[in-house]
């Protein structure tokens, strides 16, 4: 299928803003912390007082993408913008809170994954096609492919692929899961702004001779060129956001050649191959230096 072109990318992680903030060795950098939190973005207004943290972070990620593009909200408002949301577990804290009756005030609708992109859509006036994928890195790669298809069909003029993961509220639950104890859980939110492009994009299982498992859980490998070996990186666990971290890292480098992203989650391994990622005439932008919304530590 025809590949989209990358217009902008906003990335917020518990390490800081943009891939440049990601350390070389997550475990060492975490220094014993089990969760690297993104905190709760502060927004004025009654509408946001009871909003979930995942909804606020989703909006902050889209605003970071707008900053990256040097564009205002009007550039994406309306029915010609598709919104594709992906998460593995951002809804868990809201579900948990509702089950336990904590706070007593969570709106039941806020437990639904669908409400996270809805908060973004309402705030920014995004009324185009939408979809929501649940899962880890393969779900994100599929979300990119889904966005590419919407653009290729002419169903939208631009597409936002939005991924959010939070962990802090349920750190104790994750701590009981032995599989995830090796790496810190790194909260993250990212938004990819895609427009129609000229390259080729495909998703599918990796070739038989390619290592199927690059590490525990949601680890992903990125290759700048087909000939380069895959390499895993000590980012920590960011579940669905991970491919977008590597994509940001890639564009901060040479951003040349074919981008390959391989993601693993549960039993599935998926590879995305994407040519001509950058729009012609565009050059990689520096990493966003500021989050769109100020954050306060929780």
């Amino acid at each position: 299928m025809r590949a989209p072109a990358l217009r902008a990318l906003g990335l917020l992680t518990g390490w800081g803003n943009g891939a440049a903030a990601v350390p070389a060795d997550a475990r060492r950098a975490a220094d014993g912390r089990a969760v690297l939190s993104l905190g709760r973005p502060h927004r004025e207004g009654e509408r946001w007082r009871r909003a979930t943290r995942e909804g606020l972070l989703a909006l902050a990620a889209v605003e970071a993408a707008l900053d990256d593009a040097g564009a205002g909200r009007e550039a994406i408002a309306g029915e010609r913008t598709a919104l594709v949301y992906v998460t593995a577990a951002a809804y868990v804290p809201s579900n948990h809170r509702f089950i336990e009756g904590r706070g007593g005030s969570i709106h039941f609708a806020e437990t639904a994954p669908a409400v996270v992109p809805a908060e973004v859509a309402i705030e920014l006036g995004l009324s185009g096609p939408y979809s929501i994928f649940i899962g880890g890195p393969p779900a994100t790669l599929r979300a990119i492919a889904h966005a590419a298809r919407l653009l290729d069909q002419g169903a939208a003029d631009r597409a936002l692929v939005l991924a959010v993961e939070i962990f802090e509220e349920c750190a104790d639950l994750y701590a009981r899961s032995r599989r995830l104890m090796d790496a810190p859980l790194v909260e993250a939110a990212a938004c990819l702004w895609l427009e129609p492009g000229r390259g080729e994009l495909s998703v599918g299982p990796p070739a038989a001779d390619e290592p199927a498992n690059h590490g525990a859980g949601a680890t992903i490998a990125v290759r700048r060129r087909r000939s380069e070996p895959s390499r895993a990186r000590g980012l920590g666990e960011t579940f669905s956001v991970e491919p977008l971290v590597y994509l940001d890292e890639w564009r901060q480098g040479s951003a040349l050649g074919t981008l390959e992203l391989t993601g693993r989650w549960r039993s599935e391994v998926l590879r995305l191959v994407w040519t001509e990622v950058m729009a012609s005439g565009s050059s990689p932008q520096p990493a966003p230096s500021t989050a769109a919304a100020s954050q306060e530590a929780t």
Partner: protein, 394 residues
């Protein structure tokens, strides 16, 4: 009006369902046509503290006698029960495991597992509480080694799953897709809708003057999708088009003007290459809430134009309850069966159509008709709107 379709037609070959009104496709269809109701007092978990304790509960999963290594997760077991009907018809016999995909839609995933684990039930696996767990459990049970995808566009999830499954066929990622939706009736969701005061105190009455809300139900519904012209030759019908649009209006209430739903419907018609003047039947979301029904009726009226008074419309939620992630798939199957069997099931409990909800409602009893092209609409939390355009096999 006929236009060139934007995408390849996708065959819907077989289906398997488990619902409160029947645990296979034939039983489900018979109950729809005869107007049977699956609404009862909920027995599986405590409801005495809730204002409403009724719903479309499946009292006993009857298809499978031995669960073997299938997890104790009810959502998984609903899916496996539905898939068992497909396997019983040999629907996947010739499909290589790595060319088979599973795509399921859900509003709640495995949340009941989380609910039970937090209550101290040590048999529950916390990872089964993630929304994509039941889909992966189903894939494992089927021996599927191709793509496994979970989508969650709230109560429009089933429609989204069918569309994403169709895309896997169009891009060549799979040769057959088991696509569908599911959700379980559990305390989590009952408490939620109870808090929203959205549950009906008596019957669910879509489009009726006395409508007071929804009742929830549980179900799983799966279909086997294939590229047109491939597969076994069995066919329930064809998926022609899908459209989605966000309301960008409110997190839990529909857009008062229904603009998002209208965009979704028009996008589905465009993808199908079908003009609204060719639609023979509309399966409405028809929840029976005071807000939803007049908005939806107005959208149907705008889309159908002058034919709005002569195109039959129904809602099957009164007898099933709102089955959330399964709803759109069950409604799509109802459309296809109506086409092949030559009869449209009625909307139960629709006695006095409300002012503002006037359409050609099928009510009282089933109506003889053989609709070929059908439109099915879905709405959900977050301003999720989806529409399917389907062609019956008649």
């Amino acid at each position: 009006m006929t236009r060139a379709p934007r995408t390849e037609r996708i065959a819907i070959e077989l289906a398997g369902v488990v619902t409160p009104i029947g645990q296979d496709l034939e039983a489900f269809w018979s109950a729809l046509v005869t107007g049977a109701s699956g609404i009862s007092q909920i027995e599986r978990f405590p409801v005495s503290d809730l204002r409403v304790g009724r719903g479309g509960e499946i009292k006993k999963l009857a298809r499978i006698k031995s669960w073997g290594r299938v997890p104790e997760c009810r959502a998984t077991r609903l899916l496996v029960s539905a898939a068992d009907e497909i396997l019983a018809h040999g629907g996947l016999d010739a499909v290589a495991p790595d060319r088979l995909a599973v795509v399921v839609g859900t509003a709640l995933g495995g949340v009941e597992e989380g609910e039970k684990a937090l209550a101290g039930d040590r048999r529950r696996r916390r990872r089964d509480a993630l929304y994509d767990a039941p889909g992966h459990n189903l894939a494992r049970w089927l021996g599927c080694r191709g793509p496994v995808i979970t989508v969650s566009t709230a109560c429009a999830s089933g429609a989204t799953a069918m569309a994403v499954g169709a895309d896997l066929l169009r891009t060549g990622e799979a040769d057959a897709v088991v696509a569908g939706g599911y959700d379980v009736l559990c305390r989590f969701v009952m408490r939620g809708f109870n808090a929203l005061r959205a549950l009906a105190h008596d019957d669910v009455r879509p489009f009726d003057r006395r409508r007071s809300g929804i009742l929830l139900g549980e179900a799983a519904a799966l279909v086997v999708l294939r590229r047109d012209g491939e597969g076994t030759g069995a066919r329930l019908g064809t998926l022609l088009g899908y459209g989605s649009a966000s309301d960008a209006s409110h997190i839990s209430a529909p857009d008062p003007a229904g603009l998002g739903l209208e965009r979704a419907v028009r996008a589905a018609l465009l993808e199908a290459g079908v003009g609204a003047d060719r639609i023979d039947f509309v399966s409405a979301h028809g929840t029976g809430t005071p807000l939803n029904d007049p908005i939806e009726a107005a959208v149907i009226r705008r889309v159908l134009g002058g034919r709005a008074d002569s195109v039959p419309v129904n809602s099957i939620k009164p007898g099933l309850g709102h089955t959330m992630g399964a709803a759109a798939v069950l409604e799509a199957l109802m459309c296809l069966l109506a086409s092949s069997r030559g009869v449209i099931p009625p909307t139960l409990h629709l006695d006095e159509p409300d002012a503002g909800c006037e359409l050609d409602h099928v009510r009282g009893s089933a109506r003889p008709a053989r609709p070929r092209l059908c439109l099915s609409t879905s709405l959900g939390f977050g301003g999720s709107n989806a529409a399917l355009v389907l062609e019956g096999a008649s």
